[in-house]
Amino acid sequence: MNLLLDKTFLESIGITLDEEAYRLLADHYQETLMGRIEDEIINELDEAQVIELSALRDSTDQVLQTWLAANVPQLREIIEDEIVILMGEIAENSEQI
C-alpha cells in the first residue's frame, strides 16, 4: 500500500480537491501518520530499547531502519495498520472534506 495519499484514492471515495487543498491534506496526512507510527513503535519497545532508540536520534536513516527492523519485528504490520486506519478515517469523514 502506498504511504502517500494520492488523488486516485481520494476520487474513489468521492473527494475531489484542487491542487492547493490536496497539498494541504497530504501534508496533514503525512504528519499524522508519522506521529501515529512513532507512538505505536514506542509502545512496542521496553524501557531499555527506548533509551537505545533515543541515542540513535542523530544517526542516519539507514542505521535507524536497521535498528528498527531488528528490534521491532512487527514494524511492517504496524505501518500498514496505521495507514489503513488513517485512510479509513478519511473515508468516514469524506462528506466533510
Binding site: S12, N43, G88, A91, E92, S94
Partner: protein
C-alpha cells in the same frame, strides 16, 4: 325585687318558687313562653308536611346523615340528638324507623349509611391510639428524611444516564435521517396519491355526464332545448380538457420535484458507498489487529489463559479447533478452575470434578477466569 348592685345577689337559682328560678334541665326555657295553649294547629302543618316521603330530601343529605348519633352519656343535650329527640311530641325523622316507606334507592342509601356509621364507630379515638398514630407519622417522616439523600443520588445517576442516552438518541436520529431520506421522498409521493385519485375520480364523473348528455343530444330532435343542451355539452367538454391539462401540469411538477429529490438522495451513488464501506471495513480490521498486538505485548508469556482473555481471539481460537482438541482444552480449563477455587477457599479438596460430565457447563467466560 332586685338586689342593689353594690350588694352580692342572693343565689335563688335552686328555689323553684323564686321568679328568677331557671330550670336548666328543661330545654323549653323560660317555661312561660312555650305553654301548650300557645301553640296553634297551623304550627304543626309544616311538621306534618315534612313527615311526607317527598320532603325527605334534606334529611337524605349524605353529609349530615353520616354524622354519628349523639352518645347520651357524653353528649346528653347535644345537637346530634335533636333529630331523634321524641320528648317534644314531634315525630322527627329516624332513618331506621322510616325505612319501610323509602323508595328502593333511598333504602339502599340508608343501608350504606348504616354501614358507614358502623365503620366510623370502629375508629379508635382514644388518647393512646391517637398518640400511636402521631408516632407512626413521625416514623414515616424520619424514614423519608433518611431516604431523601439516596433518592437524590439516584436522581443524579438517572440524569447522567439520561445524558448518555440522549447522546445515543442523537446518534440514532442522525443515522435514521441519513438512511431514510429516500423513504421520506417515497412518503411524499404517497401523500400525493390520494389527491391524484380524487382528480381521476372527478374526471371520470364529468366524463360520464358528458357521455350521457351526448347520447341525449344525439337522440333528440333539433329543438331550442336541444341546442341549449349542445352548449352545455361543449362547456362540459371544455372543462374536461381543462382538467386534463391541469392534471398534466400537476403530474409534471411532481415529476420534476421527484427528480430533484432523487438527485439529492443519490448524491453519493451506490458504487461510491461500496468503496467507502470497503475502506472503513479494512480500517476496523486494522484497529482489531492493533488491539490484539497491544494485548500480546502486555502479556509476555503468551499462555493459553492470557490468550483466551480477548473475546474475539478466544472465539476464533476455539472455532479453529477440532472437537477432540476443544474437549481436551475444556477439561484442562475445568481442572485449572478447580485448583484456583481450592486456593481461594471456595472449594473443598475432597470435591472431585469430573470433566467428562461438566465439560458442557463450561463456557468462554469460565475459561477466561
Amino acid at each position: 325585687m332586685t338586689a342593689p348592685e353594690h350588694q352580692p345577689r342572693p343565689d335563688n337559682s335552686h328555689n323553684p318558687d323564686d321568679p328568677d328560678y331557671i330550670d336548666w334541665g328543661n330545654p323549653r326555657w323560660p317555661q312561660e313562653e312555650y305553654r301548650w295553649d300557645d301553640f296553634k294547629w297551623d304550627d304543626f302543618d309544616d311538621v306534618a308536611a315534612a313527615s311526607q316521603p317527598d320532603q325527605w330530601q334534606d334529611w337524605d343529605d349524605p353529609i349530615s346523615d353520616t354524622q354519628p348519633d349523639a352518645d347520651p352519656e357524653t353528649d346528653p343535650g347535644g345537637a346530634n340528638q335533636s333529630q331523634t329527640n321524641q320528648d317534644d311530641g314531634i315525630e322527627y325523622f329516624d332513618p331506621d324507623t322510616f325505612e319501610a316507606n323509602d323508595s328502593p334507592e333511598q333504602s339502599h342509601r340508608r343501608r350504606m349509611l348504616r354501614v358507614a356509621r358502623k365503620l366510623l364507630g370502629r375508629i379508635d379515638n382514644s388518647p393512646a391510639a391517637q398518640a400511636e398514630r402521631v408516632l407512626a407519622a413521625r416514623r414515616d417522616r424520619a424514614e423519608q428524611d433518611i431516604l431523601r439523600p439516596a433518592e437524590s443520588m439516584i436522581v443524579d445517576d438517572k440524569e447522567i444516564l439520561g445524558k448518555s442516552e440522549f447522546v445515543n438518541l442523537q446518534v440514532q436520529q442522525a443515522q435514521h435521517d441519513i438512511t431514510n431520506y429516500k423513504a421520506m421522498s417515497e412518503l411524499r409521493d404517497s401523500l400525493v396519491t390520494p389527491r391524484k385519485n380524487y382528480v381521476d375520480w372527478r374526471r371520470k364523473r364529468i366524463q360520464i355526464k358528458v357521455d350521457r348528455l351526448q347520447r341525449k343530444v344525439d337522440a333528440s330532435p333539433d329543438t331550442r332545448w336541444n341546442r341549449h343542451r349542445k352548449k352545455t355539452l361543449d362547456m362540459f367538454k371544455n372543462r374536461v380538457e381543462w382538467r386534463k391539462g391541469q392534471l398534466n401540469k400537476y403530474a409534471e411538477s411532481k415529476t420534476k420535484r421527484a427528480e430533484v429529490l432523487a438527485g439529492r438522495i443519490d448524491k453519493r451513488n451506490v458504487q461510491l458507498q461500496k468503496e467507502i464501506d470497503h475502506v472503513i471495513n479494512k480500517k476496523i480490521e486494522a484497529q482489531r489487529r492493533k488491539v490484539e498486538r497491544t494485548m500480546y505485548k502486555n502479556d509476555k508469556g503468551h499462555t493459553f489463559s492470557s490468550f483466551v482473555i480477548h473475546p474475539i481471539e478466544r472465539t476464533n481460537y476455539m472455532n479453529s479447533l477440532t472437537a477432540a482438541q476443544r474437549q481436551e482444552i475444556t477439561k484442562q480449563a475445568i481442572l485449572n478452575i478447580r485448583e484456583k477455587n481450592i486456593k481461594k477457599g471456595r472449594l473443598d479438596v475432597s470435591h472431585v470434578v469430573d470433566p467428562n460430565t461438566e465439560s458442557r457447563e463450561v463456557n468462554d467466560y469460565e475459561l477466561a477466569a
